[in-house]
Symmetry: C2
């Protein structure tokens, strides 16, 4: 018998073989053959195969699979919008059965992408107990603990014994989202402790849970922001985190696999914002959707750019006399943008990870000021020398050099101050995108350059 | 009795009380009091307290704690460089004991930040069995599966029974990194299956492991890149992943908590690169370290900017005749940079997440071309109208409008093509930073603008 786990290479080959066979069985309408081959794959791979198919093929596949099997595929997709589109193409009754089979937190994420009428109609034809569970979760705000938690956890009472709890665990294990943490409640159903399966396994059978549970359970309130929760789980290395209401009643748990998706989502989000894309784009977005996500920024920046242009317009007289000044406009504006974006990225990243206290922010500003000054002086001297060699014009070199030095200093400082200020007034600093800070710094740099140029006027040819 | 878990608010208050008490006990040199208070906190909170202290206070704390207790603190810190600095300030013998108490994979991460002489001297004075374990891991390349895996896993043989395995689990649980997956070996110690603790718990006592194990174990080879592993764990929702050599021997496992750190690290890395910072900066970096991380980019961009300047220099004649042209240089260059950065971010993010197949890349390029064209035409018309209203100059408006349209089209396309090209030649597309693409697009936009301007010359005043 050959060993049947595989390296990445073998894995890819096997994967392609799978796909070919699946295509064949679909063409022959060989239900049995398709099911054998398909259900043998990991749900994530099933999902990958699934979304590559034409709609007509997908409609064929739905008829081959049970709602539960389709639910597994849906659960392993990352993009909620994608699942929503798939759900919408199914027969509504079948779709509602699929939603009922999904874990309630994921079903809610999908429903949240639909309009109210659709949600209501799905809930009406759905199995009542599943519908109730979903309704409970539906009213939590998006991106909060409530919206990403699952209610499929295992809870026990503190007065139970280890043996009783183990028995209960065996019964509930198949349905629970995680069995590695058990949550301990008191007689009022308040959360009073947590027990890892590890501790339960090594405990004596007749020990009472309250004797072995950890009393310091870190819980989050139901309205807490998902990004902060991700931060917590990463810092404290939790596999699951309980969610409570304001009276300490256990409402649900958040598991690490959901948090990994949150981390990916938030990272994509910050990254897109830094580049001035208002919303994360998906590979399958059409050009029109891309335009919708990017054009607003471009138009704002266009008008900011017009402001820059009108600013230069004020110095038209200076420009008319010394046209050579225009040559260095993109260089100076560009350097301002670059150094500002660097400072911005460092500050936004630091603020998001909660690395700065009050003192830390002051220190950050001081450091950015020093960094801007040093970078500015070095770049200023370099450009002065280059211009002197190139144009043999000492004063022009001096003008551009001083402008670069001053610009880099101010732009770096601005790059740090803008996100700190936004953080202070409770706006997510990641909103301060690169293009925005770049345009602000364009304006600053041009003011500096032309003010200095007017001053240097009599030395310039 | 009050319930002793807490909300975020309570948590912060408790936290501050802790800190005050800790400071007091330190001042009074009250070892017992300090230990009671300190060891009551989560290791992550201990670490937070620890790094806020002066070096002299930290040296005092080391004498209060055992190497094992200090190791727990070190393990919960995110930054390897930070731990290295702390280790370096300890008495070398104590430091080697701390390293020995850390899990081998984390100790190796720290040692990898030191120079060879330091590593050798630590290993010499270290407990030999711990040193051996570390030496085994030390030769794996950084950022590969080998460097982030731990050897503290639980493995069983396929011929064992469930009862035997459960017994073994109880014995090994305290030392294992995770007990939620058990890895199943054949007589040649090759990995042939995996068993979740969930399945073990619900199994009959006398069942043989091979009857209940999952034969489809997804394993990664020891040299696999950590970013790909993170992607896999997120897609497949694994809590741990086994690492094997080329003969399928189990070498170690990678757990989800280490992968969350990898995800954070890679996200920070991509984010920093987009902003043109060569290396992720830490909050405590001095200005000089910041300069070192940013200046190389700035100098490269300075010379690219000089190239842009010399390009405009070629059109000095044109500029001398129509100085008003200079006014719109930053606007056009800026818009090119902005639209290019947007396209870049979307492409880099998509390539990193493996969302694009061969066809997908072609589709992406087509979409970016359409997006650039649509955005270009809209922005072009807007700016034309604005200039007509502002300057009452139809031809100037037409010139700038057409320039913006052409520039946005080319810049958007370039933003997508550059990362795709880098991906093709096996360079991480994230290296194509925003400032780089911005500067490239500056050059393109200025060529377009001045070429058109030369053509429009006779219509301009």
């Amino acid at each position: 018998m050959e060993t049947n786990h595989r390296y990445d290479k073998d894995y890819e080959e096997q994967y392609e073989q799978h796909w070919e066979k699946l295509q064949q069985t679909l063409e022959l309408d060989n239900i049995e053959g398709f099911r054998n081959e398909f259900l043998d794959m990991h749900p994530y791979d099933q999902a990958m195969f699934f979304i590559e198919q034409e709609k007509s093929v997908r409609l064929q596949i739905y008829t081959y699979l049970s709602p539960e099997e389709v639910a597994d595929i849906m659960e392993s997709m990352d993009e909620e919008e994608q699942v929503r589109d798939l759900i919408s193409e199914m027969d509504p009754r079948f779709a509602s059965m699929v939603l009922a089979e999904m874990s309630a937190d994921n079903a809610v994420d999908i429903l949240n992408e639909m309009d109210k009428d659709h949600i209501a109609s799905f809930l009406t034809i759905m199995d009542p107990s599943a519908a109730d569970e979903i309704k409970q979760l539906l009213h939590y705000e998006e991106k909060t603990a409530g919206s990403i938690m699952t209610t499929e956890y295992i809870a026990t009472y503190k007065t139970n014994t280890a043996k009783q709890t183990m028995q209960q665990l065996k019964e509930q294990a198949p349905d629970a989202e995680t069995i590695y943490y058990l949550y301990v409640l008191d007689e009022d159903k308040r959360l009073v402790g947590v027990l890892s399966l590890r501790d339960l396994i090594v405990a004596q059978e007749d020990t009472r849970i309250e004797a072995i549970m950890m009393e310091k359970v870190v819980a989050v309130s139901v309205g807490k922001d998902q990004e902060e929760i991700a931060q917590m789980m990463r810092d404290y290395d939790f596999l699951a985190l309980p969610v409570v209401d304001f009276q300490d009643h256990l409402l649900g748990i958040i598991t690490v696999d959901d948090i990994m998706d949150v981390m990916e989502e938030e990272a994509s989000d910050d990254y897109s914002k830094l580049a001035g894309v208002t919303d994360v784009e998906r590979p399958n977005d059409s050009a029109l959707i891309s335009v919708k996500k990017r054009l607003p920024w471009l138009v704002i920046l266009l008008f900011l750019g017009m402001f820059t242009a009108s600013l230069i317009g004020r110095f038209e007289e200076t420009l008319n006399q010394v046209a050579v000044l225009a040559i260095f406009i993109p260089l100076i504006a560009g350097m301002a943008g670059n150094s500002g974006t660097q400072a911005l990225a460092v500050a936004v990243r630091g603020l998001a990870s909660g690395d700065y206290g009050k003192q830390g922010k002051m220190k950050l500003v001081l450091r950015e000021a020093s960094t801007g000054l040093i970078n500015g002086i070095i770049c200023g001297i370099v450009i002065m020398l280059v211009i002197y060699v190139w144009k043999h014009d000492f004063y022009l070199g001096l003008l551009v050099g001083i402008s670069i030095a001053a610009t880099l200093f101010v732009a770096t400082l601005a790059g740090a101050l803008v996100p700190i200020f936004m953080d202070r007034i409770k706006i997510d600093p990641a909103v301060a995108s690169g293009p925005f800070i770049t345009t602000i710094n364009d304006i600053i740099s041009i003011l500096i350059y032309f003010s200095l140029a007017t001053f240097f006027m009599r030395f310039l040819t």
